[in-house]
Amino acid sequence: MSTLADVVADPLFPEVDVRLREGSHLSREDHHRFEFLSQSFDVLLTFYERYGYDLHRAEAGFFYLRPLSGTRRRTMTVGEMLVGQTLALLFLDPRIFATDRRVTRTTLQETLEQLVGIDELRARLLKRNLRNQRGIAKAVREEIDRALRSLDRLGFLRLEGENSIELRSSLLRFTEVVRSSAEVGIALSKLVQSGELAADVEEEP
């Protein structure tokens, strides 16, 4: 597509535009929408710059809007980051191809507990102190579910029914800070400078 008029006139534009502005990540799994973005990338890059966004095409082949300096933005929560990073780890495991890039919710929780430990998982996910064990377990499950729903809306995965999660290549965004073997602090400062990451949680004003 050669001109902005052509791109905006395309029937896919409204949905793609709204999803990008809501923070969604569009990857190969989105088929036609991904193809549309690939073909109209150069035109849309200039278009979104005027709104203060960088339409970023990640090395792993997915698209998202990155707020430029001075543009209002928000960040993911602690829970979303932890769940996203763990799902990215599962995505990088070759066994995922035997299950067509799907994991169960149960597998996710077990992986989190094995990696982090139940007490540490509670400490990271829950802001409040709960006394009884059943309440803690329930609150942890609810936080994980909340994070999953959010990541689904943002295009990192697709929830299928009660227990199945389809993982998408956009999860590789969670690996940015460990992409190179450079020290994490150096990697972080570069990513903060580019607007990819924020040092702390920033809530929507």
Binding site: L92, F97, A98, L191
Partner: protein, 425 residues
């Protein structure tokens, strides 16, 4: 046409039974192999080889004895027939019966659907349908239709379609197995797995493309014959034949659709999987990134939070509408309000008329209102009801139903009914 009662009675009378376990199946396969090699089955050689089979299954009975008994059991169950006429005087020569051969064919036949097997099967199906079409052209009686058209469509065509369907399911299992193999390849040798996986999966996609094309080509030819049979059956009012032709046509359509969808799904899977694999291998060739990610999650040392845009609220422009003029929501001051005027009918105070209505027998609020309000100007009804209700409440015990519904009374009012239960004294 099968007569179930007749056949069931015959089977029961003959005590026919089939009892074939896994070891027996293996024996039958072996017998078939011997038969194909040597055209008949010599008893001694067979017993020797069958003993080896039973030895592999670790059976407790002496293997030769079990093998010898097995041979007799096959004879009793008519899986094997003796083809010489020597009787019991010497060892026999045997051959598998049609039943024995059918069992072997069923278990060892190639379950995969290939272009070659599809051409053979659909070719056989088309031949059967052409025969049925010719029978439909020549049919003049219901028996002609039943024997020449309905039975081939219901039985033969159905069997062939079942065969294609079974092989198609075999292809589905193959693909599920391939996915597991790819995952294992990646686990064993990440880096070199990509090329091998690509070769394997691309071959599958080509097979599916070929099958899909063949099915579409065959579908047109098969449906052409079936449409002709259906049309002739309709003209001849052969209802069963028409239904049978339609049923086969529906199965052929479903099969072609299966082929198309499988090809589409597998192509998408291939593109997605290879694309993802190439990306992951490029980003993490030696799995070091995965290890850093895992260690970082474990230790809680991964810094930073991904940034996201704040979605702007989109202004929805509405059509301009002129707001209607509305009167000011005011009421006159108390001094300006006109006093409640009692029309000439009610010369005495309202409360007097309420008491009069009650003493005349009105024992509900609606009855009292019905007696008193006709004498009040309509504009004052609402206020008058309030005064009447207050007077009744002060001077009588009031009974009300819990959750009583609103009752419409005359004068455009709705009330919840009160029941007067005597004075307050």
């Amino acid at each position: 046409m099968l007569d179930p009662e007749l056949h069931i009675a015959a089977l029961k009378a003959s005590r026919a039974r089939l009892d074939v376990d896994t070891a027996d199946l293996c024996c039958l396969v072996l017998l078939r192999t011997i038969e194909q090699e040597a055209s008949d089955i010599d008893e001694d050689e067979v017993v020797e080889r069958l003993a080896l089979i039973h030895e592999r299954f670790g059976e407790s009975e002496a293997h030769r004895l079990r093998a010898a008994n097995g041979l007799q059991r096959f004879l009793d169950q008519r899986l094997l027939t003796r083809v010489d006429a020597a009787g019991l005087s010497r060892k026999g020569i045997y051959a598998l019966s049609p039943l024995g051969r059918a069992i072997v064919e069923f278990f060892v036949s190639d379950d995969r659907l290939t272009g070659e097997s599809l051409v053979v099967l659909t070719g056989a199906l088309r031949a059967r349908l052409i025969v049925a079409r010719e029978a439909a052209k020549a049919a003049t009686t219901p028996e002609d239709w039943a024997v020449g058209v309905v039975t081939p469509l219901r039985v033969v065509a159905s069997d062939l379609l079942d065969g294609i369907g079974r092989r198609a399911r075999g292809l589905d299992s193959d693909q599920a197995r391939q996915r597991s193999e790819v995952a294992q390849m990646l686990q064993d040798d990440w880096f070199s797995a990509l090329d091998r996986a690509e070769t394997m999966l691309t071959a599958s996609t080509r097979t599916l493309a070929e099958l899909s094309r063949l099915l579409l080509d065959e579908q047109a030819a098969l449906e052409g014959v079936l449409d002709e049979i259906e049309a002739r059956a309709r003209v001849a009012a052969a209802v069963e034949a028409e239904a049978a032709a339609r049923a086969v046509s529906a199965r052929v359509t479903a099969l072609a659709e299966w082929g198309r969808k499988r090809h589409e799904t597998w192509s998408q899977y291939l593109q997605l999987m290879l694309g993802t694999l190439r990306t992951i291998i490029r980003l993490d060739p030696d799995r070091a990134m995965s290890l850093r990610l895992r260690d970082g999650i474990r230790a809680g040392t991964l810094p930073g939070f991904l940034t996201l845009p704040i979605p702007a609220r989109t202004a929805v422009l509405r059509d301009q509408r002129v707001a209607p003029d509305r009167p000011e929501a005011t009421r006159p001051r108390a001094s300006e309000r006109e006093p409640l005027r009692v029309p000439p009918v009610l010369e005495k105070p309202l409360e007097y008329h309420v008491d009069l209505a009650v003493s005349a027998g009105a024992n509900t609020l609606s009855a009292v209102l019905g007696a008193v309000l006709p004498g009040v100007a309509p504009a004052d009804h609402y206020r008058a009801v309030g005064r009447i209700a207050r007077h009744l409440a002060c001077n009588h015990r009031i009974g009300r139903e819990r959750d009583a519904a609103w009752t419409q009374v005359d004068f455009g009012l709705s009330i919840t009914e009160w029941h007067l239960q005597g004075g307050r004294g």
